[in-house]
Subunit: 404 residues, 2 copies
């Protein structure tokens, strides 16, 4: 959860484009067109100059892609040196042939780079069902080292599908840096994981603590975000730490990791399919943070809330509906308070209809809409802050087209 | 759940328009314009000529309208004689004033009809937040008897909001008849209840069994239906039995009630906001029926499945995603089987891509799309059949307009 003390963090989170000293030392990128997509780059590789401490969280979708169990197995020793991503076909529902293809791609990358295949993580995104065109892909994986670059842009473009913007964020923690890059703009309600996000740091972080740190960061960023309630079969977040910048204070690193993941999550919802507005739902006054998360998710996932915000309609009754449908015991009108931005609309049983026009203007004029819900069921000390986006005709347009 | 033996029921379910002997004896209707809406009828009353045995199920939304607790209290003795419905304002989040208004409307109806106010159920649908214009409404409630008619059409029009069709179904069970009328086309994922549905029968059914019968019927109809995942604050289903046609066999009555509620549920999803297609998801091979319901709901509620069907896109990978995101233990590709209509697309690990064009044609040419999911986790003896609809640009258009 995003909690209050995080407001005191003053580290600057760098946005796109990120260059030079705001990139971590020791990581490089490769990208190419290998024939999965018609005419766009569709293969990306991240290469670390040494073996990194690493941790990852994956989709909880039970019908997951073949990359997921392979990745889980490879992360057992908390080490990685490269990540190879194919884009256009998700390698899901592809059985033993799909697994063999993923392993063959990792082996080819390892052989070309002269590193251990065990330290190469496979990832895939795209259409569910078809097999990868392995005969086209393997011959393209050679002389990787000759084409490596510290510029991540072509790598991110190569792994993107319906994304319209490059998603990348970085943050400095002392001499160290965290870089997070990713893709994703539909089929997004990650659960314990997310779309594809790769994070690299030159901080020296203990293997034993890396997973817990990643999990905390993911829980207050990608796990409180939803575009369309649809949990992908391939969601993956990986963090690689190569140690080249030396040790940093664990608390400072955790705060930086939280900030950079939250910023990247906001990049993802703002580039969601058809989205015109980011919706941030801040829930206080819950008895436990799980209640806050359930209610925040119910609001950002409600088609009627999402369409109202798309149309700048101050239809606060839909917030009431979405909160109440969670069936959480103790919800009541007498202690409920609702605000859009700075404008109160309902407070302890009373409607503030004089603010309706102000709210309409607020919704019209802002690309990020903040909703504040105080349940009043407990003192409002902490905030659960959930991210989502509006629902537009363009979302329907994009997703009703023939197999995208 | 809709189970196999129901296929053997041969009773004809009558559709709109229903007249004469296909209506139950002893129920009449009233409708008028009372000034909630600008220029449409907005008050409807159902009147029984005698006190009826009655049962009702209501929304589980915790921030429900004031009509809900009033109705629950009135149903304690399982008796009703009239139902009064206001349309345009939902009387939700209106506090003590809202409750007093609902009680005043019931009292006015009771006084005019010379019946007990305890036996008049209030119902309301429309925008959440505002108070009812009670000073306009009360003077209009007089001389009801002079305007009563056995034709339900104007009543249903008066209670409708964004509905574009009259929803009514009836069925004969021996000499008795069940009539079900209702409204609802958005904010629909009922939970233990549904939108507004009123059912009248002249069968003589014991008070003590009426609720259980209603619950069984609702569980295999309105409770396995979703338009948009949004559970209304005012959902209500009421069944009134006046006994004028004498006793009927309880099993035959239950079957008839199941059939007529299922048919009305299908009417509601087919007239859902912006919908162009009904989606029926039939799930077999589950270990318990709750798994079947969760998976069926996950599929009909997936925006990516709904938009694919809107675009006649045979994107079966989205079924895989929606099934897997339920995280039900035991799901696996090796025992999974997927069909659209008569066309197999995935079976025990193998894709039948030769059927893709047939499925595309099937989706293009049918207003009702049947999806068959066999999980293969247990013998496929029974089917859970969930109803939904596609997601179109028109849904976004309707719901992004200023406070609808």
């Amino acid at each position: 959860m995003r909690i209050k003390q995080m407001l005191f963090i003053l580290n600057k989170v760098y946005k796109e484009p990120i260059m030079g000293q705001n990139l971590p030392k020791g990581f490089q990128f490769f990208s190419d067109h290998v024939g999965i997509k018609a005419d766009q780059k569709d293969l990306g590789i991240i290469v670390a100059e040494n073996v990194c401490h690493a941790a990852a969280v994956f989709t909880k979708n039970k019908l997951c892609g073949v990359s997921i169990p392979i990745g889980q197995e490879k992360l057992h020793n908390n080490e990685l040196q490269a990540i190879v991503v194919t884009s256009g076909i998700a390698n899901v529902a592809t059985g033993a042939q799909g697994s063999a293809n993923a392993e063959a791609i990792c082996a080819a990358v390892a052989e070309d780079l002269k590193i251990a295949s065990q330290n190469v993580l496979p990832s895939a995104t795209g259409v569910i069902g078809p097999q990868l065109p392995i005969a086209k892909i393997l011959p393209k994986i050679h002389h990787i080292s000759a084409s490596l670059t510290s510029d991540y842009h072509d790598f991110v473009k190569a792994i993107s599908t319906t994304d319209t913007k490059i998603k990348a964020r970085s943050i400095k923690i002392g001499d160290a840096t965290i870089l997070a890059v990713g893709k994703g703009s539909g089929m997004i309600e990650p659960n314990m994981a997310t779309m594809l996000v790769y994070m690299m740091t030159d901080a020296n972080i203990e293997k034993s603590t890396l997973y817990a740190m990643l999990k905390e960061a993911v829980d207050q960023s990608f796990n409180v975000m939803s575009v369309d309630t649809d949990t992908s079969t391939s969601d993956t977040v990986v963090l690689m730490a190569n140690g080249l910048a030396g040790a940093v204070a664990p608390g400072a690193f955790q705060n930086g990791l939280n900030e950079v993941t939250r910023a990247l999550a906001e990049d993802i919802v703002s580039d969601a399919e058809g989205a015109t507005k980011v919706i941030e739902v801040n829930v206080t006054g819950w008895q436990d943070s799980q209640q806050g998360k359930i209610i925040g998710k119910a609001v950002v996932n409600s088609p009627l809330v999402k369409t109202a915000i798309n149309g700048a309609d101050p239809n606060w009754g839909r917030l009431v509906m979405a909160i109440g449908k969670t069936q959480i015991v103790g919800l009541n009108f007498e202690s409920l308070s609702l605000k859009f931005g700075d404008y109160l609309i309902f407070d302890h049983g009373n409607e503030y209809s004089k603010n309706l026009l102000n709210i309409e203007q607020y919704l019209k004029n802002n690309e990020k809409v903040s909703i504040y819900i105080d349940l009043g069921m407990a003192p409002a000390a902490e905030t659960v802050s959930v991210l989502g986006c509006d629902l537009s005709k363009e979302y329907v347009e994009i997703n009703s087209a023939y197999t995208s």
